[in-house]
């Protein structure tokens, strides 16, 4: 099938397969999957300047599907998602300015690639360690995996300390089970995710979802759903920005999304059958896969 905007010939079944895979990952883990979809589109011949914008466009559609499914499951904290959007957009701008500075210095490619690898490996190691410790803690305390406490983390004390942060105003997030937390803590977590998004690209769900769990104490299922909701808004903003710059082939995004829509339903439905620490443990290989793709890109000179 010929896509006239990008000027490439691509088998639509390949796009649908990529979309389905990324959709399942997104629905289950609450991540956009840019670190997989982007390299895949590039490998299919889409020009790199089109890859980022087109992938963001597809993420909007996929995240609508997955977040609606999670909303039906009671996993979306809309208040938290809207607050985080404000912090994310500010963070994206800060990250993008950092990239501009590196471009002027002529070191953007290497610095960003190395930063990406370090961040992704660190996230995998940390989430894996925390999930393992949580399961050890549950076994030691004799907590059944289906029990309400099963989503408790071995480092819950971090989130409790964040909740005690005194700088007001304080807000309640009843949908996340949080009685009181500083608004600045929420905005700070979102800003951090936005910085990573603006600096490293993509939706940064691999940062935001774990940050919501470990720093804010949001239950894993709610973090997944709320992250997807937030991505709809921030990726929508990114879609418009990149489309204005000529970096979006909406036809490619629409075709890829037809696979992602089905995958997102499957992925979101799977979260019903796994408790929080299992989801977090299953998340561990994803950032490592992304780091491997970046390393391959560096080695192969892309």
């Amino acid at each position: 099938m010929y896509f006239p905007i990008a000027g490439v010939e691509i088998n639509p079944l390949a796009l649908i397969a990529i979309g389905f895979t990324v959709g399942v990952l997104g629905g289950f883990f609450g991540v956009g999957g840019s670190f997989l979809a982007g390299p895949a589109l590039f490998a299919l011949g889409v020009p790199m300047h089109m890859v980022v914008g087109t992938d963001l466009t597809h993420i909007v559609g996929k995240s609508i599907v997955a977040s609606r499914r999670h909303y039906a499951l009671g996993n979306v904290d809309i208040k938290l998602g809207l607050l985080m959007t404000a912090g994310t957009i500010a963070g994206v701008e800060a990250g993008a300015q950092a990239v501009q500075g590196l471009k002027q210095h002529g070191s953007a490619d290497l610095v960003i690639s190395v930063a990406f690898i370090l961040v992704l490996v660190s996230i995998s190691v940390f989430v894996g360690w925390e999930s393992w410790r949580t399961r050890q803690m549950h076994r030691a305390q004799g907590i059944a995996l289906g029990a309400e406490q099963a989503d408790a983390s071995a480092i819950d004390h971090v989130a409790r300390r964040v909740h005690r942060f005194r700088l007001g105003p304080h807000i309640a997030l009843p949908d996340s089970g949080i009685a009181s937390v500083s608004l600045w803590a929420v905005l700070g977590v979102a800003f951090l995710g936005g910085c990573f998004s603006g600096f490293l690209g993509g939706g940064a769900g691999y940062i935001r979802m774990p940050a919501m769990v470990y720093l804010l104490g949001v239950p894993t299922h709610v973090a997944v759903g709320t992250d997807l909701f937030e991505i709809v808004i921030s990726a929508g903003y990114g879609t418009v920005t990149h489309a204005l710059k000529g970096n979006v082939d909406v036809l490619i995004a629409l075709v890829m999304h037809t696979g992602a829509a089905l995958g997102a339903q499957v992925g979101a439905s799977l979260t019903e059958f796994f408790h929080g620490s299992r989801i977090r443990m299953a998340f561990v290989p994803l950032p490592l896969l992304g780091a491997l793709l970046v390393i391959l890109g560096l080695v192969m000179g892309h």
Partner: protein
């Protein structure tokens, strides 16, 4: 918290990959094929024109298209999953 978690959760999750899911994929595939042939081929050249000559409108149309498709396919896939689950 859903009680069907852990090892029984893996068993229950396998139930998702059942004949009903295959049937759903088949029906969904037919819808998608018809959508490609009728809609996407028809609008391709128009979108190219917008992209070349009216970039602001292209950005708006792109966001609207993906949003409408997102909502539409979510309803379709959710309906199909519900239909085939009830028949099991």
């Amino acid at each position: 918290m859903n009680e069907n978690v852990g090892h029984s959760g893996i068993r229950r999750a396998r139930e998702l990959f059942s004949p009903s899911l295959l049937a759903e994929i088949g029906v969904y595939g037919l819808f998608v094929a018809a959508y490609f042939l009728v809609i996407l081929h028809a609008v391709g050249d128009r979108l190219r024109e917008l992209y070349d000559q009216h970039r602001v409108w292209y950005a708006v149309v792109a966001l609207l298209l993906i949003g409408i498709q997102g909502a539409g396919l979510e309803s379709l896939t959710r309906g199909l999953m519900g239909l085939f689950r009830r028949r099991e």
